[in-house]
């Protein structure tokens, strides 16, 4: 006998393995020479030819696919050597060339790794001459998507350098490799400040640009005065960059907006387009940032804006800003955007802009993209401001022209604009309905998508039917990729306008027939709810669906709905009950109906939901059509060996219902009670939330990664729950409806009672007659999983065979009459995680559930717990070791280790030989004191050593499934 104090760290925290890592050093071979011997190459003069593109058109496909020739590469190479911005630019080229020549991604990674290693080495050697070349390389590597964080400090060093080329590359690196979230950025503030005050305007420009791209709120506060000062500078380039830089500053710190209002307005008087465009964008941003600024700008800059727009649109030819005959479309567009912001909700401002907008809308040429861009913006502005009706007409006309344009780009923006126009002038948009519908059928996915969204907005009570008809008709020929979107939209239109039930059902059947596989589950669930409520249309529906099923058997959702209907309303199908006016009579025999379901069952052999629905439908038909009963029994019986446990089990249950329980069959298989529409809608809305919270509630995975079986036979609970659902179908207290109303579970599960144990348990509402059965089920799930404390588990009857439950149901209609029957040992075997001691100790309120602490192929360890009353820190564990093999274990030693905050004392074991095949076991007591009771849970590592036939064995594991409260 040994006192089992452990060999390995007795009370130390669990050892953490540390991976040691030395500094990364490239292998010698990876470190290439830094410089190649250079020959001074001949300078290549390069004139700059003016591109000879047709105006507004696409430049001629000049650069041929592939590369121009080797000649060009050689030339480039030579010129690059001459270029001194990167004095040893050759290595950069080499790297790019090496990367280009890589055939596979792995090769590329290898090259990049080697280069990065070289760069790291250069960085650590602090080689100044190579800095900006390395930075250029890093930018390339970064572009390819590799990590480059190690170069961040280099950027800062380059920025601090005095030379312009170094600074330039440094700033570029800063903007590419860093972002405002990195702390390194704070270090650059000082350099930026110095450069903002530099005498060289280009360096000031660099600093402004960098600040405008990456500054954080803190930097914005620190450097705002500098930027303000620079906006007053005389140099236009500095001014425009300072103006744009302030956009970022205002966005980061909206409080600073008022500092810039006056400055921005004054910049609008400039002539330089760059300054104007920047100032206008700054004004737009200021309007967003503060209400005061918006008011200020409405008063002070509207005049300037109108003047700018007039000047630019009337200006004569200016080669620098000309785009296909139109002077600076970019400026046009920015002015129009700002006008929209200022004129929105302000009649005076809008009035002021009226004339110039009318001028732009009428005079701008629309045969080129640039002109259309302006017209597009102009129409949007007219829609956005408080425009006069005359102006509105102009805008709508532009829209109409755009919509009938052949260019897809123009049509796309027209649709986009209509989306906005619909709030302003729905009537005008309705006029274009036919064209929009055409666009839904366009070959271009982007246009289709826009048009479909637009149609969705256009639908109202009067046009819902014709529009839906168009869409449903189109569904037949639609692109497979597009069917999903289209179906979803049609379904939501149908549901929105589903007051006319017959119309709704008809259209739904069409959609199901054409695109059943794209119909979402909640949509057809809703359809079933409607069907179950529309008693006068059920006959018609089941016949339509049956007919559709014959033709469109490949549409999954159609099959499900049809099968459900045939199961529920089979006799209406056969007897032509509830014929509607003008409906064609169809002759369907009882066996035809069974055929249809059987075909579906065989067709969807892989789809468990459909199969399950088919089985239920068949079961119901067996009661509706007693003559087919034998045949159905055979079909159902075929699933007795299905590999899906659920189907197998159901098949067995159903067979015995058909065979042995004739007396209750008809009441058991009555039609489902009418589903409550309102509660379904509520539930449908809750589904998404429920899914999210269910995910959160999911039991945490064992952190140790060691899988310890808890011995929970999950599936045993399922059939009981299912039978409960079925059994209560005919009962007065309809469990099905009550579950529908309360549980945020899958509708389908409720409908059929299919599903895993946990969901079924949760799904059953706590009405009195189900309580006992719920308790019954909760035995099947481990306490840690369903979150029920152990003391809630009452000593309830465990029924050895499911069919017995059914028997008792048949003898006594109400489930609450089930008498507590003694615990049956076979059932306990099923629930082997809960050894008999639990049930007994379960009677005492203080007891904790037992766990299977460890199980391997050879050995099983169970822990029973006992708490000392009055001292929650201390607990006693009674460990039981069972040998699962056929040879006895000798020299058995159990060792355990716990974290520091726990004290562990092992009692002597009851023996050191564990008999074979579970014929007896060794027990050992563990006394535990958790010094951090209530804060930290118990955790333990165990090691078991023993001899089998003289051979040493060792097993170890971690136990982290202790019940809470230890």
């Amino acid at each position: 006998r040994r006192k089992g104090h452990s060999h390995f760290p007795p009370s130390a925290p669990f050892p953490v393995f540390q991976i040691r890592q030395g500094p990364v050093r490239p292998p010698p071979s990876a470190r290439l020479p830094h410089c190649f011997p250079l020959q001074q190459p001949a300078f290549r003069s390069r004139e700059l030819p003016v591109p000879n593109f047709p105006r507004g058109g696409v430049p001629p496909p000049r650069y041929q696919a592939g590369m121009d020739t080797v000649e060009k590469i050689v030339e480039d190479f030579a010129s690059d050597l001459a270029m001194s911005a990167f004095s040893s630019g050759m290595r950069l080229r080499d790297m790019i060339r090496a990367i280009r020549s890589c055939k596979t991604a792995a090769e590329e990674r290898a090259v990049v790794r080697r280069e990065c290693a070289a760069i790291r080495a250069a960085i650590s050697e602090n080689d100044q001459g190579l800095r900006h070349r390395n930075m250029a390389k890093l930018m390339f590597v970064h572009m390819l998507g590799y990590p480059t964080h190690f170069g961040q400090m280099e950027c800062l060093k380059l920025i601090a350098d005095a030379g312009f080329p170094e600074k330039r590359v440094g700033y570029l690196g800063l903007m590419l490799l860093l972002d405002e979230r990195q702390e390194v950025l704070m270090l650059v503030t000082n350099s930026l400040k110095q450069d903002l005050n530099h005498s060289n305007q280009f360096i000031v420009g660099l600093a402004l640009c960098a600040l405008g791209n990456i500054c954080s709120a803190e930097m914005a506060r620190d450097l705002a005065p500098e930027v303000e000062r620079l906006m007053r500078s005389r140099d236009v380039n500095t001014k425009k960059k300072a103006a744009l830089c302030s956009i970022r500053i205002v966005r980061k710190v909206p409080d600073l907006a008022e500092n810039f209002m006056a400055l921005a307005t004054s910049l609008l008087k400039e002539k330089h387009h760059g300054v104007l465009i920047s100032a206008i964008q700054l004004c737009t941003e200021l309007c967003k940032a503060s209400k005061d600024a918006l008011e200020y700008l409405r008063k002070n800059c509207i005049e300037g804006l109108v003047r700018i727009l007039r000047d630019v649109s009337n200006s004569s030819y200016a080669p620098e800003y000309d785009v296909s005959g139109i002077s600076d479309p970019f400026l046009h567009i920015r002015v129009l955007k700002l006008m929209r912001v200022l004129g929105h909700g302000d009649a005076d401002c809008s009035e002021y802009m009226n004339d110039i907008l009318a001028q732009v809308a009428t005079k701008t040429e629309s045969n080129k993209n640039a002109g259309n861009a302006i017209l597009y913006e102009c129409a949007q502005t007219i829609m956005g401001i408080e425009a006069t009706s005359g102006l509105r007409v102009l805008a709508i006309n532009i829209l109409g022209r755009f919509l009938s344009n052949r260019d897809n780009n123009i049509r796309y923006v027209a649709l986009n604009m209509l989306m906005r126009a619909i709030t302003v002038d729905a009537q005008a948009v309705q006029r274009h309905r036919a064209t929009i519908l055409e666009c839904v059928k366009d070959a271009d996915a982007s246009i289709r998508k826009r048009a479909l969204e637009l149609v969705f907005l256009l639908v109202n009570d009067t046009n819902a039917k014709p529009l839906t008809k168009e869409l449903v008709d189109y569904l037949r020929v639609a692109d497979p990729d597009f069917k999903g979107d289209l179906t979803a939209k049609i379904c939501s239109i149908l549901e929105k306008f589903s007051q006319d039930k017959l119309w709704y059902l008809d259209q739904m059947f069409k959609v199901l027939s054409q695109a059943g596989s794209h119909v979402k589950d909640d949509v057809w669930h809703a359809l079933i709810v409607v069907l179950s409520n529309a008693s006068e249309l059920q006959g018609y529906s089941v016949r339509s669906l049956y007919t559709a099923l014959q033709v469109y058997g490949e549409q999954g959702s159609l099959v499900r709905v049809a099968v459900w209907c045939i199961g529920e309303y089979g006799e209406m199908l056969v007897n032509n009950v509830g014929m509607l006016e003008g409906e064609e009579t169809i002759t369907v025999t009882e066996s035809d109906a069974v055929d249809a379901v059987e075909v579906a069952l065989n067709r969807y052999s892989a789809d468990m939901t459909t199969r399950a629905m088919c089985l239920v439908a068949l079961l119901k038909l067996s009661s509706r059509f007693p003559s087919t009963s034998e045949r159905i029994k055979l079909i159902v019986g075929q699933n007795k060996d299905n590999i899906v446990l659920e189907l197998q089990q159901r098949s067995i249950e159903f067979s015995s219902i058909i065979q042995r329980h004739q007396s209750i069959r008809s009441s058991l298989l009555e039609r489902m009670p009418v589903l409550d529409e309102a509660s379904y809608l509520v539930k449908r809305a809750a589904i998404t939330q429920a899914t999210i919270s269910a995910d959160k509630l999911a039991p945490p995975v064992n952190p140790g990664g060691l899988k310890l079986p808890n011995g929970v036979p999950k599936p045993t609970a399922a059939p009981l729950a299912d039978l409960l659902d079925l059994g209560s179908d005919g009962a007065p207290a309809t469990t099905v409806t009550s579950t529908t109303a309360t549980a945020p579970n899958d509708f389908l599960q409720d409908l059929l009672g299919i599903g895993g144990a946990n969901s079924s348990v949760a799904g059953v509402s706590s009405s009195a007659n189900t309580d006992i059965l719920m308790d019954l089920l909760s035995i099947g799930t481990s306490p840690s999983q369903n979150g029920l404390p152990a003391q809630d588990t009452k000593p309830v009857p465990v029924v050895p065979e499911v069919i017995d439950l059914l028997g008792s149901l048949s003898s006594s209609t109400s489930a609450s009459d089930v008498k507590p029957t003694p615990v049956v040992p076979q059932a306990m075997d099923l629930l082997d995680g809960l050894s008999s001691s639990t049930s007994i100790s379960g009677l005492e309120n203080t007891a904790l559930p037992s766990i299977t602490a460890f199980q391997s192929a050879t050995l099983k360890v169970t822990f029973d717990f006992k708490k000392q009353p009055g001292n929650p820190r201390e607990s006693t564990i009674h460990a039981t070791f069972t040998n699962l093999t056929s040879s006895p274990f000798t020299d058995f030693i159990f060792q355990a280790a716990v974290p520091k905050f726990i004290q562990l004392r092992l009692d002597p074991a009851s023996g050191n030989t564990v008999p074979a095949s579970g014929n007896g076991s060794v027990t050992q007591g563990l006394n535990i004191t958790n010094n951090q009771h209530g804060q930290k849970p118990l955790a333990m590592r165990i090691r078991l050593s023993y001899k089998v036939n003289g051979e040493d064995r060792l097993e170890q594991g971690q136990i982290s499934n202790f019940p809470s409260g230890l």
Binding site: V50, A85, R168, E180, C245, D444
Partner: protein, 143 residues
């Protein structure tokens, strides 16, 4: 902010230039580039130049073997962005003279400088080719 990113991608889907005006992590960028490029490259010439992706629009234009993609906010003027792409290409063309994919690859930093002159923090600053190129030419002359 209007422009979210500017991407140059060749026919094989390799990125030739990437400039982001909002922060994305490396993984996000790779995923984004992959998705967008797949979407755009699959489209034919007859289809329109706009693709909606996640919460923004991608305006793209193809010049020979290179695709120029610009990601913008949803309320941006798509036609103007097309014009912007064209301006960018014309500017590069003026500088490099018959610009090709290789020029962009081997002069990545210069293209970045041009872009920097044209766009700042997602806003267009300058639309005159001469003004855009002036600092770059100056730098070349001085060195």
């Amino acid at each position: 902010m209007t422009i979210r990113f500017v991407l140059f991608v060749n026919k094989q889907g390799q990125t030739r230039l990437a400039q982001y005006y909002e922060h994305l992590s490396l993984d996000e960028r790779r995923a984004l580039e992959g998705e967008i490029v797949r979407k755009c490259l699959a489209r034919t010439d007859q289809q329109c130049s706009f693709v909606e992706h996640r919460n923004y629009k991608v305006v793209y234009r193809r010049y020979a073997s290179l695709f120029f993609l610009v990601g913008v906010d949803n309320d941006e003027n798509e036609l103007a962005i097309l014009e912007f792409i064209h301006l960018l290409v014309e500017t590069m063309d003026r500088h490099f003279g018959n610009v090709c994919e290789l020029d962009i690859m081997f002069h990545l930093e210069k293209v970045h400088f041009m872009l920097e002159e044209m766009v700042m923090n997602g806003c267009i600053v300058e639309t005159s080719k001469q003004n855009i190129l002036a600092p770059i030419q100056l730098m070349e002359k001085s060195s």
